[in-house]
């Protein structure tokens, strides 16, 4: 069970949301938040479902992105001072340096490099997308995305915490005309005879409705088990409602775009394992004339947070300021960040 918990923490499934050890205490956990490697880069998803106009049912996208639009509304954890310098070396190559000075967790320097095509429909479809990240403590994240054919994509993820490998997984995804099927093999370990197999399936049932499911099979030396989760998503031009329900818990989210400037998200998570539920409300306010984006959220755990992002034109820099208050524990977390480039 420990194995599946650790793996699912990086998978983003229903189990993951409540099984991440830092999640209970979010955003006040002392561990640095792991990068969301379960989420594909944004450019991977086809244009939003409601924009398909040729009469056929659109492809529903990947299983991991079901709750993405709601999650993007919420502010990200921010703590201490972070400086990110992004540099584009060519149309394929991007490099970024991150320096994080923190009061609660150890400070680090991170080097991130991306080799990927900048546009979705380029001529060279066979070029893989490679993303690598190295920490000052030696932790590595490596991510490779391959288009095997027009409909089949393969993805490999390796993650290590200093010298120990934490995640190694291989995923294959088939995108049909109106369905998506994916199979993931996570942390296969021949010596320990353990493996986690995940199968995803999403089918567009009507122009707004997508139904699907996820089957997780985990096997260790002493135990094995399977968990089935059903998922459904209904989307309209202005709002999206998603529900994941299974034996491990439930996750419901509602995203609403009120107007050009305001987006609102409501999320409900319940876990049978930790016997806890959480409700969160978040909103995002964009003021393009002021080059400003503000995200705020309030939680049933009595956590209130807000993050302000402001582009400092004419400099190619963005200033990020945020604070999170946990009223129950009476704790405050303040963060400042500068993104250059």
């Amino acid at each position: 069970m420990d194995l599946i918990r650790k793996h699912c923490a990086h998978m983003g499934s229903v189990l993951a949301l409540s099984s991440n050890p830092g999640h209970q205490n979010w955003p006040f956990s002392k561990d640095p938040l792991p990068s969301r490697w379960d989420a594909h880069p944004a450019h991977w998803d086809r244009p939003p479902r409601w924009e398909r106009r040729d009469g056929r049912l659109p492809n529903p996208g990947s299983f991991h992105s079901l709750h993405r639009s709601c999650k993007d509304v919420f502010p990200h954890q921010i703590e201490g001072v972070k400086m990110i310098i992004n540099k584009t070396l060519s149309s394929f190559f991007k490099v970024s340096h991150t320096l994080h000075l923190s009061a609660v967790s150890p400070s680090y320097y991170r080097f991130h490099v991306e080799h990927l095509q900048s546009d979705d429909y380029s001529k060279d479809k066979d070029a893989p997308a490679l993303i690598g990240e190295m920490d000052s403590s030696g932790s590595l994240n490596a991510h490779a995305l391959l288009h095997l054919t027009e409909r089949v994509r393969a993805r490999t993820v390796f993650q290590s915490q200093q010298s120990q490998f934490v995640t190694w997984q291989f995923e294959t995804e088939y995108r049909g005309s109106d369905f998506t099927a994916a199979v993931t093999v996570a942390n296969p370990d021949i010596l320990r005879e353990s493996v986690i197999l995940v199968a995803h399936f999403l089918q567009s049932v009507s122009s707004g409705l997508v139904l699907g499911g996820e089957l997780v099979y985990h096997r260790g030396r002493a135990e094995e088990g399977g968990i089935l989760t059903l998922a459904g998503q209904y989307s309209r031009p202005n709002w999206v409602a998603t529900l994941n329900a299974g034996k491990g818990g439930a996750h419901a989210s509602y995203y609403h775009r009120a107007n050009k400037q305001i987006q609102v998200g409501v999320e409900f998570e319940a876990s049978t394992r930790t016997q806890e539920t959480t409700t969160s409300f978040g909103y995002q306010m964009e003021l393009p004339e002021a080059n400003m984006v503000f995200r705020g959220m309030i939680n049933s755990r009595c956590i209130i947070g807000g993050v302000l992002e402001k582009r400092l034109t004419p400099l190619p820099a963005t200033l990020i300021m945020g604070a999170f208050v946990n009223h129950r524990g009476d704790k405050l977390q303040v963060g400042l960040g500068v993104n250059v480039g």
């Binding site: 604070a323 704790k331 303040v334």
Partner: protein, 342 residues
């Protein structure tokens, strides 16, 4: 308001000093000290001889507490958490400020402060009496009353409480002569317990640039009494000020240099015989008025590096302050930001 001295800006509370402790002088934090008094104009006696005029050109050296002030103002002030300050001027005489501090390490607090300025005008921008007070959400009170009793004598009374207990009560009188300043302060006088502190300051202009003086602190508690003497020397030139304080309690030397309109630099050295340690700090202040920006940075011999950035967000009457301090020796990091409205 624009017509009130520095006391109207929200400032950190004066450090509480227990009654009777042998501190070499009650230090006034910036903002609570006396306003700078313009040097006394030389008397325009008709037919004054050349020698007499040269003698009369010695300026008043200013207050004793201001000696190291210019250098200290260059250094950034450490701040953590989130601070919101709202200043509101209710009339020409009355100003009110609210400050809300959400702290990551200590307790969050709300503070309400009020400033009253009277109508007796003594200088171009000085009005008396000045009454400043602020109250904490836990009931701690800081208050000051400053009044110009005569053209040369100014007096101040200050009270400070920690919740309901009085920790600081003092009164002082300052006399500004032609080329000297003398001040007497009575700190925490307690007739019943027979304890108190008496501080006398004296500062004399020797030449137009050089000022020498001294401070004598006499403290008394039932069972013990003692005194501390320190000497002060200050040399002022057109673009730098060098100050030295020497006494049995330690030494404090500071050097302030104004490089140009935008850059000011300060170096400070402190040695304390009581704590048996010394520290040296280097600080600089960079003003960019075109960008409404002020940046202060400092490096310390205690391996503390810190910086503060202050920016006025025109056209709104908002001011944003970002601050970060890093103690390399203890590997501790602190950051904070604040917004001042009005």
């Amino acid at each position: 308001m624009g017509s009130v001295l520095a006391a109207s800006s929200p400032s950190p509370p004066p450090p509480p000093s227990a009654a009777g402790s042998a501190s070499p002088g009650v230090t006034m934090p910036p903002g609570f000290g006396m306003p700078p008094v313009p040097p006394a104009a030389p008397p325009t006696g008709s037919g004054a001889g050349k020698e007499q005029r040269a003698e009369n050109l010695l300026p008043n050296p200013g207050a004793f507490d201001e000696c190291h002030r210019k250098c200290k103002e260059v250094f950034p002030m450490q701040m953590e958490g989130v601070r919101l300050v709202v200043n509101k001027g209710l009339s020409n005489h009355f100003q009110v400020n609210h400050s809300l501090l959400l702290s990551t390490t200590g307790d969050s607090s709300y503070r309400f402060g009020a400033t009253f300025v009277g109508s007796k005008q003594t200088g171009p921008a000085e009005f008396f009496p000045v009454m400043v007070g602020d109250m904490d959400n836990s009931g701690s009170l800081n208050s000051q009353i400053i009044h110009q009793i005569s053209s040369r004598i100014r007096s101040k009374v200050a009270f400070q409480t920690q919740q309901q207990k009085f920790v600081n009560w003092q009164g002082d009188a300052e006399f500004r002569g032609e080329d000297f300043t003398a001040m007497v302060t009575f700190g925490n006088p307690d007739v019943l317990a027979g304890s108190g502190i008496i501080i006398t300051h004296y500062l004399q202009s020797i030449t137009p640039s050089l000022a020498l003086g001294g401070e004598l602190v006499y403290h008394r508690r039932p069972g013990e009494e003692g005194s501390v003497l320190s000497l002060v020397g200050r040399y002022t030139a057109s673009d730098f000020i060098a100050t030295l304080t020497l006494g049995s309690a330690g030494a404090h030397a500071s050097y302030y240099h104004k490089a140009n309109e935008q850059l000011q630099v300060g170096v400070e050295f402190e040695a304390s015989s009581r704590m048996q340690d010394t520290s040296a700090s280097f600080g600089y202040q960079l003003d960019v008025p075109k960008a409404n920006l002020q940046f202060k940075g400092s490096v310390d011999s205690n391996w503390v590096v810190g910086a503060t950035l202050e920016k006025k967000l025109l056209p709104l009457p908002l001011s944003l302050v970002l601050c970060a301090f890093l103690n390399h020796q203890k590997n501790k990091f602190q950051c904070g930001f604040g917004i001042t409205i009005g």
